[in-house]
């Protein structure tokens, strides 16, 4: 058992229904401080929906999400406004990439600094020295993230013209700029090749160990999952199939049946000469 002070975010009996589809059904899990917790599951299992529930894009039909990141004690996330989530220290990336297309990479990262804004409206209008200092500070922070994720080349490029893989990284960078306590990553490696996926793995490890950020991740690439996750939760049709270490979950027969299949055997693809 884990002591409750270890838990950063806990979901209890989460359910949400869209018309006839029960997208998430009584899902409970805890994300502990400092861990990488991964959701896996077949397509349409409800993984993204869980993210959307946490970031308050949807409201659960039933269940609770509790946030333990505040010194003041646990907080019911379901009571929070959507824009308040980031301020609590929960940042996310999107499965389909939702960047600010008509802005540069740097600009995107600076928007990520929004929750740390200290200047008031009028001091911005007059651009007081304090505002100037705050701006410089924001840029410094953004540059740190740029350095961490090797985005120097793209700093001043418009997002609209970036290749898919780079955008994925920019999204991660933007989320990091909010200095989160919990980072939600929706399929961080999709669209990346093996080499880039390896980079992503290192970054996630750095984020976990050096920045001390907990990560909740949805991912299909099992090599990445096993490399970085501390614990894995497998879902299917909105319900929890199994929880445990990556190895345990991958060994679960039901997970293999619903999700993994016989991946390693590629002989079926080969053409018989």
């Amino acid at each position: 058992m884990t002591s409750s002070s270890d838990v950063l975010l806990s979901a209890k009996d989460l359910s949400v229904r869209f018309g006839g589809v029960l997208a998430v059904n009584k899902v409970s899990f805890d994300v502990r401080r400092g861990e990488v917790f991964t959701l896996i599951g077949p397509n349409g299992a409800g993984k993204t929906t869980v993210f959307n529930l946490i970031s308050r894009i949807y409201t659960p039909t039933m269940g609770e999400i509790t946030w333990h990141g505040e010194a003041a004690g646990p907080l019911a996330l379901t009571q929070q406004a959507p824009h308040a989530i980031a301020a609590l220290g929960i940042a996310r990336t999107f499965q389909n990439i939702e960047l600010f297309e008509h802005a540069t990479v740097l600009h995107n990262l600076l928007i990520g600094r929004h929750t740390h804004r200290q200047t008031g409206f009028w001091s911005e209008v007059f651009f007081t020295p304090a505002t100037r200092r705050a701006e410089v500070a924001a840029r410094e922070k953004a540059e740190q993230v740029i350095d961490l994720l090797d985005l120097q080349h793209h700093r001043d490029s418009m997002v609209a013209g970036l290749p898919y893989g780079v955008r994925k990284v920019v999204e991660l960078a933007r989320a990091l700029c909010t200095e989160p306590k919990l980072l939600l990553l929706d399929e961080p490696s999709s669209g990346l090749n093996v080499e880039e996926t390896a980079d992503m793995a290192f970054w996630i490890q750095d984020i976990q160990h050096e920045l001390g950020v907990s990560v909740l991740m949805v991912e299909h690439d099992m090599s990445l999952v096993s490399k970085v996750s501390d614990r894995v939760l497998a879902m299917n049709m909105g319900e929890v199939l199994a929880t445990g270490t990556p190895r345990e979950v991958q060994a679960d027969a039901r997970v293999v049946e619903a999700y993994l299949g016989t991946v390693d055997d590629v002989s079926s693809l080969r053409r018989v000469a």
Binding site: G41, N43, N193, V194, E195, H220, G261
Partner: protein, 257 residues
């Protein structure tokens, strides 16, 4: 040679001042599966977009089934029997799944054939049948990907361009997709040009492969031989869990330049 379905000669495309592909030439023969590998931003998507007329090339020519289709209207090119599964799904978000599939068959006149193909894609992806009346925009990422692939199948084309079909699909489904691709190729003789990050699957399923770097083709061979090359192993195949790279953070320089 008459059995060349698609031929690119010295094609060069750019986004404004940025050249994305430079002098790409490639050939796809009848009944083949050809794959294009390449890292991020290499220009794979750009090649496919140039073929289907979404981007007009600056230089070079593209021939499909012996006809010049360079810079033609995309709708016209598709009508020649070429179908493109785009990067990023691109479903019609406010149409039902079924209408999306019907739009896939827009260029076809044979109602029976369309109905039959509809049944077969439903058989490939039963979830689509389940969600036939739901708006496609509300499907999960992977479900939309299935829809996008099915839509291309519905067109019953001679040539399918597949841009990262496994994007966002579960491991099991990824393999199934490749099995379906191979099946379509074998059963219907459909020629396929495949762009894929999952090089392991792609190299196993394909006959011929090209490697693209920075907009240039740097290697071309049969897949069997490509699979054996050191660089390919290092950069694209990676192999299981800890991979070739293992805990090594630095990258090896590619040797084909």
């Amino acid at each position: 040679m008459t059995d060349v379905v698609l031929q690119l000669l010295n094609v060069e495309s750019a986004y404004g001042p940025i050249k994305a592909i430079r002098g790409v030439s490639l050939k796809v023969r009848q009944g083949e599966i050809v794959t294009v590998l390449g890292s991020n931003g290499a220009g794979k998507t750009t090649i496919l977009k140039t073929i289907s007329g979404i981007i007009d090339p600056r230089k070079g020519s593209i021939e499909f089934q012996g006809k010049d289709i360079t810079a033609k209207d995309p709708a016209h090119i598709v009508q020649q029997g070429l179908s493109h599964v785009p990067e990023g799904r691109e479903v019609f978000p406010l149409l039902s799944v079924k209408d999306n599939l019907l739009m896939g068959a827009y260029t076809r006149k044979d109602r029976d054939g369309v109905a039959r193909d509809m049944e077969s894609v439903y058989a490939y992806f039963p979830i689509l049948r389940e969600r036939a009346t739901q708006d496609a925009g509300l499907l999960s990422g992977g479900q939309q990907q299935m829809l996008a692939i099915s839509r291309a199948i519905m067109a019953a084309p001679h040539l399918i361009l597949l841009d990262e079909p496994s994007l966002g699909l579960s491991p099991k489904l990824t393999k199934e997709i490749f099995e379906i691709v191979v099946r379509i190729n074998r059963e219907r003789g459909t020629t396929i040009l495949l762009v894929e990050q999952n090089a392991n699957m792609a190299l196993n399923a394909s006959d011929h492969g090209y490697v693209l770097e920075n907009g240039r083709i740097v290697m071309e061979d049969t897949c069997e031989r490509l699979r054996e090359k050191e660089d390919i192993k290092e950069f694209y195949l990676g192999v299981k869990d800890d991979g070739v790279r293992g805990e090594r953070r630095w990258k090896k320089k590619k040797t084909w330049r």
